[in-house]
């Protein structure tokens, strides 16, 4: 009788949970252990803003809604932080409890907020918004009419922003870059979003840093690089995240920005794989290996890594960077090389008054990047066209003139329709 394999997965986010389910699907007899560094049932950070906005309860954030899911799938969930990996002994040391021996290991340990060297970030009333515990703390402190400062208007900051507004707080956003969401949007889109926020009563300070936070009488005083000092009851820090690779020190597993993986999501160590926010895997747009800390990529990684762990050799040809954001009803998204490439062509269409913007980027007659504001219908087609590298032929010229016909272009090329 063949030996029963033991799959250990570090991290109970989307990549880890999807990997566990995938492994169960193709390796019915294996032992599967899911190691969660937090005390809650596996949950989705993506859902935290909706929890903060009181749209859902904590259970609404759970990655699997069926309470018996893990038991039924025979997935052992261990609530303990992994502190060390020894690939030679094939074991994972935990903060509490016995080390886990594995046959195959998946590192899906995710990311954590970056600790910035700003004095006062450790004060009470200053909080990152990343874990369930953070969410509880923020919910406890941010109430209707309270003055709140949000540090960072990147993608995550902007997601939290809406939740804070729904809680009825008076919000000031402080962002170092010259515009909101500079990693996902160009000046036009970022500017549109900023004006939208300002129209909804949010103070947006771009090109501004927080230099120090001090405890005032009953509130926090926040010193800005502009020299101004503003005060608030709560400061929410959303100024970037970095892969959780610290615990790999000494393991011999190669890291760079994240855990380095090959085209099958395997790390430098035998039988050890990595997935999700912690992995530095192939970006299909650039061909380079980089960290793409987004939900759909975590799902792709989790599934493909699991297939490889189960012995089904499955290449990972690269994931597509993409994001979607709802800012008080104004929905924006970006895909791939949204800022274009040298030698490519771009088409833009903007309607400032209608809060709509669409930017397409091409290389030859293939779509490589999309940015959209205020346009949601059939938007996933952007992914389809970019990822398949579908040649657009005559439709490229049409799209250069009328980018809004993207969905038509996709269906037409799929159906071999040339005119129009």
């Amino acid at each position: 009788m063949a030996k029963v394999r033991h799959h250990v997965i570090i991290g109970a986010g989307p990549a880890g949970v999807l990997a566990a389910d995938t492994l169960r699907g193709c390796d019915p007899d294996a032992r599967i252990t899911l190691v969660s560094g937090e005390s809650e049932p596996p949950y989705s950070r993506m859902a935290i803003p909706y929890l903060l906005a009181n749209h859902i309860g904590e259970d609404g954030t759970y990655l699997r809604q069926d309470a018996d899911h893990y038991a039924r799938q025979r997935i052992d969930v261990v609530h303990a932080r992994a502190t060390r990996i020894d690939p030679k002994k094939k074991s994972v040391r935990l903060k509490k409890g016995k080390p886990l021996k594995y046959d195959r290991l998946l590192i899906a340990a995710g990311a954590s907020p970056i600790l910035h060297p700003v004095p006062g970030l450790d004060l009470p009333g200053v909080r990152t918004c990343w874990t369930m515990e953070d969410a509880r703390e923020i919910a406890d402190r941010a109430h209707k009419g309270d003055e709140v400062v949000l540090m960072g208007a990147g993608f995550i900051g902007s997601i939290i922003l809406e939740a804070l507004i729904e809680r009825g707080v008076k919000l000031t956003v402080v962002e170092m870059a010259d515009r909101m969401i500079s990693h996902m949007m160009d000046e036009t889109a970022g500017g549109m979003l900023q004006r939208w926020c300002e129209d909804h009563g949010i103070k947006v300070l771009t090109g501004t840093r927080i230099t120090e936070i001090t405890r005032g009488k009953s509130r926090l005083d926040i010193a800005l690089s502009s020299g101004k000092i503003i005060s608030a009851k709560l400061v929410v820090v959303a100024a970037g995240v970095a892969p959780n690779i610290g615990f790999l020190k000494g393991s011999g597993i190669k890291t760079d920005r994240g855990v380095k993986v090959n085209g099958f999501l395997r790390t430098s160590a035998k039988d050890v794989y990595a997935a999700g926010d912690v992995a530095q895997a192939k970006d299909m747009s650039t061909g380079e290996f980089s960290v793409l800390a987004i939900q759909p990529v975590a799902a792709d990684h989790g599934r493909i890594a699991a297939l490889n762990m189960a012995g089904k050799r499955t290449p990972h040809d690269g994931s597509l960077n993409m994001n979607v954001l709802d800012t008080m009803g104004l929905i924006s998204s970006s895909f791939g090389k949204w800022d274009g490439v040298d030698g490519g062509d771009g088409a833009r269409m903007s309607d400032e008054a209608g809060h709509r913007y669409l930017r397409l980027e091409f290389k030859d007659d293939r779509l490589i990047g999309v940015q959209a504001v205020g346009i949601t219908d059939h938007i996933g087609i952007a992914r389809g066209l970019i990822q398949t590298g579908q040649r657009l032929g005559r439709w490229k010229e049409k799209l250069m003139k009328s980018p809004e016909r993207l969905a038509e272009a996709y269906i037409a090329t799929a159906h071999g329709i040339s005119h129009a």
């Binding site: 989307p14 999807l18 989705s44 950070r45 993506m46 859902a47 909706y50 749209h55 859902i56 609404g60 954030t61 759970y62 990655l63 699997r64 809604q65 299909m284 939900q295 759909p296 799902a299 792709d300 599934r303 493909i304 297939l307 499955t314 290449p315 990972h316 040809d317 690269g318 994931s319 597509l320 993409m322 994001n323 979607v324 709802d326 009803g329 929905i331 998204s333 895909f335 949601t376 219908d377 059939h378 938007i379 996933g380 087609i381 952007a382 992914r383 389809g384 990822q387 398949t388 579908q390 969905a407 038509e408 996709y410 269906i411 037409a412 799929a414 159906h415 329709i417 005119h419 129009a420």
Partner: protein, 156 residues
């Protein structure tokens, strides 16, 4: 037997009865903008293309959902559970066909669920451009091949 919506654009006249039937069943009103099926009009080529979810095996939307609000039923149909959907829209960018869409009036996403086995669009189609039939018999269509191409790398 695997039942599916099989679409023949060559028979479509662009009447939009499918959109009307769909929106009535799903929204209780006649509203093509909220239909889960949409007819694309390529008038310069004399062609109309009804377009909706193919219930692809890859289930991009389901995999991308952070709160397990999309599941696959026994017929292979991907179903959105409104009580769980938080409206994060990740599925709408993850679906490479663009056939799961955000409905701003409910704050949830919407997609074709084949009406639980009695699709109203097929019933309403006057020209049999949309039929609900056993896919193994249908020799199925380009959209499935398209689905295969769109795989993010997993060619398993």
């Amino acid at each position: 037997m695997q039942m599916a919506l099989v679409i023949d654009p060559g028979k479509c006249t662009g009447c939009k009865q499918c959109e009307l039937a769909c929106s009535y069943v799903k929204e209780g009103e006649f509203n093509p903008a909220k239909s889960r099926i949409r007819v694309f009009d390529f008038h310069q080529d004399a062609r109309f293309v009804p377009y909706t979810c193919t219930q692809c095996a890859e289930a991009w939307c389901q995999q991308a959902c952070p709160v397990n609000a999309i599941t696959t039923n026994d017929s292979g149909v991907k179903v959105v559970h409104d009580s769980l959907c938080v409206g994060c829209k990740v599925c709408t960018i993850a679906c490479p066909f663009g056939t799961i869409n955000y409905n701003a009036s409910t704050g949830k996403v919407i997609k074709c669920d084949e009406c639980g086995g009695e699709p109203a669009c097929a019933e309403a189609c006057p020209t049999d451009a949309i039929v609900y039939m056993d896919v193994e018999q249908a020799g199925f269509d380009k959209m499935r091949q398209w689905a295969a191409q769109t795989d993010a790398g997993a060619r398993a």
